[in-house]
Symmetry: C2
Subunit: 392 residues, 2 copies
């Protein structure tokens, strides 16, 4: 039977992998960074820019929770699915809503069946479960679907985390079952014809939980792999834990993950995190940092972060990053960007977001190239040295 | 002696004129609409888009008042003038600050010397005069400079208006004198080499005032023309007066304006206003409507205004304007734009502004083409009929 996605390794350099993820919307070179498009838009970025040569994003992320609450599934269904609704032809991954519901904290109530919570938009009572999440993601018609999981807090005890990971495993099984039914029923609005050895169906990713408890992480992975998914994600990281904790989990889990499936580290991270996680064999990333921090006046550059608000840039005619070839760095000075930001001009957010995404996506291009040329160790060292340079 | 700009009539159709305005930054086909870039940015639009084929804006407007207060003239001077500061190579017009100071109302104090007022940013006491305005505009290095004028309120009496227009005439003379000195001193940061029969210097426009009093309008025009400018503007309209009042002033003034100079109607207007004013021989326009209303969720289309907030578009997969070929109308539905606006997403403002500017600039292209082909009367009639169509 043909699969919905196909992952091929092209090169390895140590644990770092460079592969091609064949999806029903075309091939994606990994390691890959996904810009986050929560409510059907990567905030402040036109789709023409995402497709343009500066960014050339192959895959973006949408949020089940947000899209379900607004504009609602009926609207998206009547518009023919998320791709048609937003006007994006390339691949899309949707998360399951599990993380957003978890973020609501005291506002949600968990049962075996699912999560009951109040909408952050209108306070209405809502219920999300593995089945509901799969049904929503089928209507969205995303190409990569995430199982509905529960995320234990970073500081959770062994007992609490174990119970949470067990629940995640049971929800993973229910996600898988409902997902399969929906594919058979033809509920997937992004469905494509079979081609290039792909089934044309959605692909489903399982999520490994277990917080900082390495034994529970191993157990969670085993349970999820036993159920069987098209790809595997590490969840529950970058949620406030110390960096060494994150690396210890990745060091433990990544080597045990199936070699022939894409490995997705959810919600991570800084440019340095991406390179370090790629060094540990991770293939996929998403993070709001380039977009959110861009809106808040922070630029990521090859020489570290630049706060555009800083008065020292008031008359500085240099670009944000002299090593960057993006449109923003080719055209605009720090002085101008600072002026826009201080004046509350929308263009500040637009330009900083563009540059930040260009920097993240370009970093991933560098990672891929250096793995292919067997020069990743050198790339990683130089990249880190430059990031930590004292002079901006 | 070579002049800074050269205006050539290519075609006339009734009173409507199609011309070429040669500037030191290249030729501009008229009638032309200028997107407003108050603080050195056309709000929500990247310069790549302004230069792209959808918009292809030949000329944008900057505001002396805003740029003077923030980032301040020293910053712009040290960055080499406004073009270099913002990263725009095409032509730019700056207004004199007179209108903004007038808008401050009770916050400003007028004397023969100039206008004293408090900054809207930090409350500091500031002083603007014909001389100061010319000095600022020389540092900005804009290609088209506006004389410093005083704008009488729409409801001003004959006596008040007369006194105001007299003051504007005296300020026009002082503007001209200081402007000439600054050109000789080389204060113009946008200065270019002489080429194509142009002096490479800035051009200065005089402004006709006189509110709704037609005799005072004629007198004001005579005084301004006597002083002598490179172009002539009609100011003090679109400030709250009834539409028939505006047309009566334009009908009175336009036919008396020098034939061989560009005629600029300041702050006007709706798409219909642009076509109607072009029919009366106006060559240049600026207005915040496409940008400001775009941010507020209003789209201008060939079939009238569309309020994207409207619930009736919730699942409407049609573009904003089925006759529009802009990127927004080619890619996005009303349903998606409504979702973005209702969700408070920045992309709503970005896309609506883009479409609105495309519609305004495309309307001007239609005006120019139809004048050249002698078909303007027909264009004007069809355009107006479509705008007033009952069905959106």
């Amino acid at each position: 039977m043909t699969k919905p996605i196909k992952f091929t390794l092209n090169a390895q350099d140590g644990a770092a992998r460079q592969g091609t993820l064949q999806t029903r919307r075309g091939p994606i070179e990994t390691p890959v960074f996904m810009p986050v498009g929560t409510a059907g838009t990567v905030k402040g970025v036109r789709f023409e820019e995402l497709e343009g040569s500066d960014l050339d994003a192959q895959l973006i992320l949408g949020n089940t929770y947000h899209l379900w609450l607004r504009p609602g599934i009926e609207v998206i269904k009547s518009c023919g699915g998320l791709h048609k609704f937003i006007g994006w032809e390339r691949a899309m991954l949707t998360d399951s809503g599990g993380f957003q519901v978890w973020s609501l904290g005291a506002l949600r109530k968990l049962t075996e069946e699912g999560a009951e919570f109040r909408s952050h938009i209108d306070g209405s009572l809502q219920f999300l479960s593995p089945e509901v999440s799969m049904e929503i993601q089928a209507v969205l018609g995303s190409d990569l679907v995430m199982a509905f999981d529960e995320c234990a807090p970073g500081e959770a005890s062994h007992g609490e985390t174990s119970a949470s990971a067990e629940l995640t495993a049971r929800w993973a099984r229910r996600s898988r079952a409902r997902f399969q039914q929906l594919q058979i029923e033809g509920a997937d609005l992004g469905r494509r014809d079979e081609c290039a050895d792909l089934s044309g169906q959605q692909a489903l990713f399982g999520i490994v939980q277990g917080s900082s408890h390495l034994d529970l992480r191993r157990e969670s992975l085993a349970r999820i792999v036993e159920i069987g998914f098209d790809g595997y994600a590490i969840g529950g990281l970058s949620v406030g834990e110390e960096k060494p904790v994150m690396w210890s989990v990745i060091d433990e889990v990544a080597p045990l993950m199936p070699v022939d499936c894409p490995r997705y580290l959810m919600g991570v991270g800084t440019p340095e995190d991406l390179v370090e996680a790629a060094a540990r064999g991770i293939d996929m990333f998403d993070c709001v940092l380039p977009t959110r921090n861009g809106r808040n006046g922070q630029a990521f550059t090859s020489r570290g972060k630049v706060n555009v608000k800083n008065a020292r840039w008031a008359s500085d005619s240099r670009p944000l990053d002299e090593n960057c070839r993006c449109q923003v760095c080719r055209r605009h000075s720090r002085a101008y960007l600072r002026h826009l930001y201080v004046s509350g001009e929308m263009l500040a957010s637009i330009l900083l977001t563009h540059h930040n995404l260009a920097f993240f996506l370009d970093t991933m291009r560098g990672v891929r190239q250096s793995i292919r040329s067997g020069d990743f160790t050198n790339f990683r060292r130089k990249f880190t040295e430059s990031l930590n340079a004292s002079e901006q």
